[in-house]
Chain length 233, copies 2
DNA sequence: ATTACTACTCACCGAGTAA
DNA sequence: TTTACTCGGTGAGTAGTAA
């Protein structure tokens, strides 16, 4: 769950682990006195000693205490902690897009058009194939109320999306649709639709999901709904 | 000096910065309530609020406080903090060798052979060219006393070294020598020699430097001397 | 609903010190 | 020399609450 794998309480021990790694303790057994380590972490000898004890208790380091200092090595488990932080930072600093975007809107009843489009076979087959679920026949309409939400929605345009191809049947043409996988109210996996939105204006979000969201999440018109849009890798 | 650029006291704020980055605040202005942030960092709403205030005071984030939460973005300075940690971890986890190795030995007087070898022009020119200094005519002999130091010295064999070619003159042949740049007693830049060591056994270290180390560092036989060997990039 | 102030609590740090 | 214990002070976190 926590990409660092460290809670806020044990951060200082983690910092000490980092400092040991800086001295090469990930690769070799290093000799380090508590006094020397204390200077490196900017704390007292006693604190360094306690940190070493606690790191050993956590299984992040192995020690052999001698008269001249501790022969210390970071364990695989300790290295794994550092790697978690490293890959977390890699994600943050090198990913092209943020991991997710959260929007909130107020639920309202639409004209029922959503159900018509979603159930067209030309769309439906692609939803199943590309989103991994068969959408409930109907869309959830959310009205965005804050400037922040509308601005954020507009930023979504440049993000990579799941593309649903347009198609023709005997009577008419159906346009291209962009989808963004999303989690609704922290619970249900679904998707936000982009093209259908043009029926309304840019301050409305249309959401589909495999289930009837109004029942599933006990929603009524006027409720605030949270949508976490997941960016694609 | 400090690769993290964070002292041990402000670590928790740094953790909060990391969590904000995880939510995408390095790339976009995100809306985050202190309550939501509190849950992410595993602390109370009040603590989250204080952390945001302190991060803003440090200039690591910019905020606009609204009724629905804070519109928060990490500043360039804040991103730089995260990058420092990232490159520190990169160094630690992806470098082939530890950054430095510390050995300690007891100073003793040799037979004066060191001076003879060090002053041979075939060696001396290479020292100047490859180590960047003209060695004082003489070597400092250190006796390693602990098993740890001897083991560590033996590990050095596989590290990349500065190679000093062997050569011939009219009377005899001088062998190949490996050097490791080093810092003696945290103060003087010099180097540890590898081939000359064979005159003694594997528990002796020979050190050269541009100055007369016995004077420079006020050393006498029997003193403990610290040598920090720097690995090459 | 928010943010953030004021108190108070407690955990962490470090001085003293033993082994 | 070391490591690491006890113990007391302090600074960081939380509860209550105002705005």
């Amino acid at each position: 769950m926590n990409p660092i794998g460290v809670n806020i309480q044990s951060l200082k021990r983690f910092f000490t682990l980092y400092k040991l790694a800086e001295m090469g303790a990930t690769r070799r057994t290093i000799k380090v006195s508590t006094e020397y380590l204390a200077a490196k972490i900017g704390a007292s000898q006693q604190t360094a000693s306690r940190h070493l004890i606690e790191l050993e208790e956590k299984g992040w380091i192995k020690r052999n205490i001698t008269r001249e200092g501790c022969l210390t090595k970071i364990t695989d488990s300790g290295v794994a902690q550092l790697k978690k932080l490293y890959s977390g930072l890699q994600m943050i600093l090198e990913a092209k897009y943020p991991p997710s975007i959260i929007l909130e809107g107020i639920l309202f009843s639409g004209l029922g058009e959503g159900a018509y489009y979603v159930t067209r076979d030309g769309y439906r087959k692609q939803f199943i194939e590309k989103l991994g679920f068969d959408p409930y026949p109907g869309t959830l309409n959310l009205k965005l109320t804050t400037e922040y939400d509308m601005k954020t929605l507009s930023e979504l345009e440049v993000y990579p999306a799941v593309d649903i191809r347009g198609f023709k049947n005997e009577s008419r043409t159906f346009g291209h649709v962009k989808c963004y996988p999303a989690i609704i109210n922290n619970k249900v996996k679904g998707a936000v639709l982009s093209a259908l939105r043009s029926h309304y204006n840019s301050s409305v979000l249309e959401v589909i999901a495999p289930t009837f969201l109004r029942n599933m999440l006990k929603l009524k018109d006027g409720n605030k709904v949270k949508v976490e849009i997941l960016t694609l890798p």
